[in-house]
Symmetry: C2
Subunit: 505 residues, 2 copies
């Protein structure tokens, strides 16, 4: 494909993408292909001779589109959004054109420096304490996902804990102590924390223990529950070294009691003392709301914590992946993750004047992801981003208010919080089992029909439905439509009169 062919191909691709976005609401939001659909319609190997772009492009609509679940559709109200935007796409395009696995500063200084700068912009925009800025001892780094970020900081926390708590030992005694401690290390997170913490513990080779939450505290981690778990761990000879605390849990967007967490830890594992517990704030989704002053009080305790992560690729108009991780002490990452073979040595790295982000992450190579963040921040501006968040918060309230108009059908379990409403279906005959059963039936029927796509979750044992109104294309009409579908489907299921209208759109 030469320059001329690329221009034609790209123009055609841009047209197709624009048309896709302009008409996306007409597509069935969740794919209804059967597992294995694609293998049946693709050849068993690559072609011997190259093919023309027109032939390749034609397959996108006919073969790929049927298998897509359209996360950008305004009818997508599942999980959390994965918001894309046009400036984000332009960033991705330039990033591909400038391809460079910029593991060192000299590999492409702009890749490193723009990342440092836009992450400092973002830290200020989100009202993070100054200690998270690169101009102090901290700084930000773009990771692929919030789960990758958690593994990264957990490994740093593990090695820091082991190093600091055994620094008085040497030789065989040191080795034995580390071996023993390794087997006793435990990472903590509330029951409502994302499963990424448990997975990170598996990867780091440490234990995981979850701290119970309850409806009474709106599914948020409390100081009491943390204290209780710390005591239990101690009684069992375990050594807690890491805690994930969440700003906007996956199931209900609960916000943990950060002040209480800081206060309990100050008592049980004082900061800046060997044995301190690394506290990571997982704000993957709801952290985006911190661009609005009315949410910025939530960061008040963060100066006592160690790391913070927010995904611009969820609610802040930047296509996946753009997980923004901030640490208070970059040295902790570098101590754990730096390896320096001769072919990576260079005068700039040796000088200590530059940042080599490979030491802040698991992979060596990295993409130029700060470009898209830069484009998004500049295209929308601070006011544009605030308006974007506030619109969705408002839509969440509209939806929750609609749900409240039908107490005969729905009970709100939680929210609206950060544009998420969580509710259960009222069964014909009261009882938890009946409630779980009908909630599940309604959920499954709604998704099977595919006019909207929502998720369910089991929260403190209760089966509930989640509707998120923070899709970039979300509008009141779509939330009203979702409400109508939920009412109709619930009435059908309650009355045992399910109408077969599969694949209706």
């Amino acid at each position: 494909m030469d320059s001329k062919q690329f221009k034609e191909a790209a123009t055609s691709a841009i047209d197709e993408i624009v048309n896709y976005y302009d008409t996306i609401e007409n597509r069935r939001v969740v794919s209804n292909v059967e597992p294995g659909y694609l293998r049946k319609i693709l050849p068993s190997g690559p072609p011997e001779e190259g093919e023309a772009w027109a032939d390749i492009q034609a397959d996108i609509e006919t073969k790929i589109m049927p298998g897509l679940t359209h996360w950008q559709s305004p009818n997508f109200m599942a999980f959390f959004p994965a918001s894309s935007s046009f400036p984000g796409m332009l960033g991705e395009l330039y990033s591909a054109a400038f391809t460079a696995p910029a593991f060192n500063w000299i590999c492409s200084p702009a890749v490193t420096e723009l990342e440092t700068i836009v992450l400092d912009w973002l830290a200020k925009l989100l009202n993070l304490p100054e200690c998270y800025l690169s101009t102090t001892h901290g700084g930000g780094v773009i990771q692929g996902s919030a789960s990758e970020a958690i593994v990264t900081v957990m490994v740093a926390a593990r090695d820091k804990y082991l190093r600091e708590t055994t620094s008085h030992l040497s030789g065989l005694e040191l080795e034995d102590s580390i071996a023993h401690k390794r087997s006793k290390l435990v990472a903590l997170g509330s029951e409502a924390a994302h499963s990424a913490t448990q997975k990170a513990a598996q990867i780091a080779g440490v234990r995981f223990r979850s701290i119970p939450v309850s409806k009474e505290s709106n599914f948020a981690l409390t100081g009491e529950a943390l204290e209780e778990t710390l005591k239990q761990c101690k009684a069992e000879g375990l050594e807690p070294f890491f805690l994930t605390t969440t700003l906007g849990t996956t199931a209900t967007c609960a916000v943990d009691d950060f002040a209480a967490v800081a206060s309990v830890l100050a008592k049980h594992a004082p900061p800046n003392v060997p044995g301190e517990i690394w506290v990571h704030v997982d704000a993957a989704y709801a952290g985006a709301a911190l661009v609005c002053p009315e949410y910025q009080h939530l960061t008040a305790s963060f100066e006592h914590f160690h790391s913070f992560d927010m995904n611009m690729h969820k609610w802040l108009l930047t296509n996946f992946d753009a997980s923004c991780l901030f640490v208070r002490r970059r040295k902790d990452l570098i101590d754990a993750l730096s390896v320096m073979p001769s072919y990576l040595r260079n005068e700039f790295s040796d000088s200590g004047l530059v940042t080599d982000y490979r030491d802040w992450q698991i992979p060596l190579g990295r993409r130029f992801r700060s470009l898209k963040i830069w484009f998004v921040l500049r295209t929308y501006g601070v006011k544009g981003l605030q308006a974007h968040i506030r619109k969705h918060i408002k839509l969440g309230e509209v939806f929750a208010d609609l749900i409240k108009t039908r107490p005969d059908l729905f009970t709100i379990l939680s929210g609206p919080a950060f544009a998420l409403t969580v509710f259960t279906i009222v069964p014909k005959t009261a009882g938890k089992e009946a409630q779980d059963q009908i909630s599940k039936e309604v959920y499954e029927l709604v998704n099977k029909r595919g006019e909207i796509f929502i998720t369910s979750s089991v929260i403190a044992g209760i089966y509930a439905l989640r509707v998120v109104s923070s899709n970039p294309l979300a509008e009141e009409q779509f939330l009203r439509k979702a409400f109508r579908i939920l009412v109709e489907t619930t009435e059908e299921v309650r009355d045992g009169k399910v109408i077969t209208k599969e694949n209706s759109i």
Copy 2:
């Protein structure tokens, strides 16, 4: 930015990218900005009001370009290439448009299914044994980088080893045994293996030991050296559980003696028996050459190994990132990396009929990276990819032949192998110290002048220069130019007549 504005912006971006590629050879290949250059010319925060695309785009040429090291320039002969291509960029563009962190099959079935299919295509194209296909017990998965792939399989190997060697125990005895074994686990790789294995060991919390290589065996891992290390480990009470073996080492593109590795392991840690050593083949760069039948004999022993990884983003025309990891038993990955909270449950995953790639990797979410691989394989076709590789192999021979014409200035240390030539500079007065010194001086002066960009490496204690001729835009004229520059610079340095011509282009 609405549809219309995006069309205009994208058209303008495409024009800029085409122009960038058409004139890239005229740019200084390695950036010569000073550390911190960008902060001086950017504002200290994002704008309050959104900006127009024209203003943003203008900053790319004026502010970003000076800080780029142009990996796509034909004058880039450093590290290994990070090859981009127009079809790859189109894939990235669609991937951004279809943004979906497709962690489950139902999140976007096409994302999962296309990945399985193109990785099966690739496995066959590379002549991997059938056990690495998804149609058997294996399969491929796209990772971000070869280093990420190594962490992923090392964690799987660690957990498999611990599980299988302690399966006869229970209770406290099991816990003690695992704690003890954890402290004794050691991952192996040759001295010439990429530092990613050492870093993976740090992340997985295990020891790392490197196996010596020597010039006599052309810096490849031998069976004897492996056997010796295994015996030493045993004598020290260590438990080797993982070995990285390399097809194309970073420094010299050495190929380990796979048959000998298989044979030594069959004796010391028999496969399919508890305590077997997981063998990972790191073919990050040179694995691309397996698309040519003349290299396919190299895969003969891979049926005895456990995983294989090759980066399409190095030498196979796909922009970073596209690291293709294949495993012989996908169950090993899933056993180590699966976590299943309620909000990720769905009927499709529960059915076992679909692949959930989140269980094959560290992160949860994932991009639609198979699109660009699909576009590249189809645009070039098998023959096009073979021609691409063979052209570069040939250019490597041309360059090495040039180097050989000046034995008074250069001594080839290794190669040409897979388009890489490694050589040292002949000092005026013989001696290792003088040779290392002048090699370093020539290397630094060449890169400082920035007409070409090359890398150096220390190989078995010898300081050497590396020239790689596998850049997508590589042509004989650029290799001849590189040779001329090396001759002139060497003569200047040898004669102590370094001319100041910094920033000459």
